[in-house]
């Protein structure tokens, strides 16, 4: 086995930590810890983006790392914290699946996405191509988190984590999306967060809870 250069090792380490954080989010019951894990995910993402930028000599990636740091590590967790305190929604009481079963489903998803990524990553020419499988796995795991949770807040955190996975996929497959797209996505996420924050209050006012099962009934009785 040839020894990889240090930067690839750091990127691989970041990828592994991202995967681990995704699983931790999947099994976390406390909403505030979930927000902290989300911030951690953003920080790792930022570190790996900086490493990619440094290795590949792409200066625009520094900008997207800075945007990641500002938005996903500082601003969004702050807004989420405020929201959770205001809504008093600290505990996710019921999951649709118990934790070990969720973990096993998550493992299957990881295997699936690794298999999916294998042919794609052979086509890519970047230093980070082997991490594409992990990026897809992070997206899938966030999906799974959104599916297994009932509360609106945790579903939104799952949505944000999914965006993290997409961003990581973009950096690992093609050294990032064009700057315009990236800024657009970042802005989208921010605005979505603000609108969803308003939504939370509306949902709670209407149903006295943040449980999304209440939205499934079509008619008012």
């Amino acid at each position: 086995m040839a020894n990889l250069p240090l930067s690839s090792q750091i990127i691989n380490l970041c990828a592994a930590v991202l995967l681990l954080v995704s699983f931790a989010m999947l099994s976390q019951r406390r909403v505030l810890s979930l927000v902290q894990l989300f911030a951690l995910q953003g920080a790792v993402l930022c570190l790996s983006t900086i490493t990619v930028a440094w290795t590949a000599g792409r200066s625009e990636l520094y900008v997207s790392a800075a945007v990641t740091l500002a938005l996903k590590v500082l601003l969004l967790p702050y807004i989420l914290h405020r929201l959770i305190r205001a809504l008093n929604a600290r505990w996710e009481t019921e999951l649709l699946l118990n934790v070990p079963a969720t973990m096993l489903v998550g493992l299957l998803l990881v295997i699936f996405s690794f298999g999916l990524a294998q042919p794609i990553s052979q086509l890519a020419a970047t230093v980070t191509r082997s991490t594409l499988g992990i990026a897809i796995a992070v997206v899938m795991l966030s999906f799974l988190m959104m599916i297994t949770r009932r509360k609106a807040v945790t579903q939104v955190i799952g949505f944000l984590a999914m965006e993290n996975g997409l961003f990581f996929a973009a950096t690992s497959a093609t050294y990032g999306m064009p700057m315009v797209v990236e800024l657009g996505v970042a802005l989208d996420v921010l605005v979505a967060m603000l609108i969803l924050g308003v939504f939370f209050f509306q949902i709670r006012e209407q149903f006295d809870s943040l449980d999304l099962r209440n939205l499934e009934a079509l008619k008012e009785e």
Binding site: N12, A16, L19, F23, M103, V110, F114, S130, T131, I134
Partner: protein
Amino acid sequence: MNHVVNAGAWLAQLVAVTTAIAAAPLLMGWVNQCRAWLQNRSGAGLLQPYRMLRKLLYKDAAIASAASPLFRVTPYILFGAMVCAAAVIPSLGTTLPFTAAADTIALVGLFALARVFIALAAMDIGTAFGSLGARREMLVGFLAEPALLMVFFTVSLIAHSTALPTMAQALAHRGAAIYPSLAFAAVAFLMVLLAENARIPIDNPATHLELTMIHEAMVLEYSARHLALIEWSAALKLFNYCCIGLALFLPWGLGAGDWRSLVPALGFLTAKLAVAGAALALIETFSAKMRIFRAPEFLATAFLLAVLGLLVHLLLGS
């Protein structure tokens, strides 16, 4: 000449096994002492396990009238299995003659043998506590075993072998590379170690007669020399697990197994075990005991980490 070398190697092996048997209660005492210090107690001293073993060996054994021969034989089988494991694990050197006798999969089998016998013996008397403990032990065991195997598979993918000495050597001589998979495997191994040795998040080794106990519930009916052997093999099991962990994840300073390397290897082992024991005490002090039904969650996490290590290694090649 060859004969002399062989004799020397066997003598080194004998020293390694004797060290394991003699030092296992000391490790137990050290962990307990560290825990006592961390909890602001003065503690019973490093030699307390030896004093207890001596006391138990002096006493007369009382055996329940319903006991079958299995009940009497189990302590010896348990002790034998643990001594065998201690001989197989390269604690002092990687070329000791016995270390080639079995690979990691056989080692897991050896631990499973001991577990099956203690569970059978616990159910043999027919008391409620015994069968309760046995069932819990099997619950923990059947979840911990696949996790342990997965840890070994992850490491053996890196080292290209399932034999412990080869793995330890390969890992000791690798370059200064970052292996995320190895880190995952190490954490998973630590969790399995805590569960398998009845340490705190799963079981509390310090209490008798508590409704949540696992290990102590199984050995309630044992007394005197039988109990001494069981306690001794529990200490040996902890020693063995620590040595496996050190051989896999901190293999530096492990000698080849000849006379000259034996003394520094012994020094390294003592230092590493002292640190490992203190760390174990620290973990136990910081964590609270879990409900028994949380144990599957804990061990599923260990399994998950080990499998993730495997997958990450396959994908990233590191």
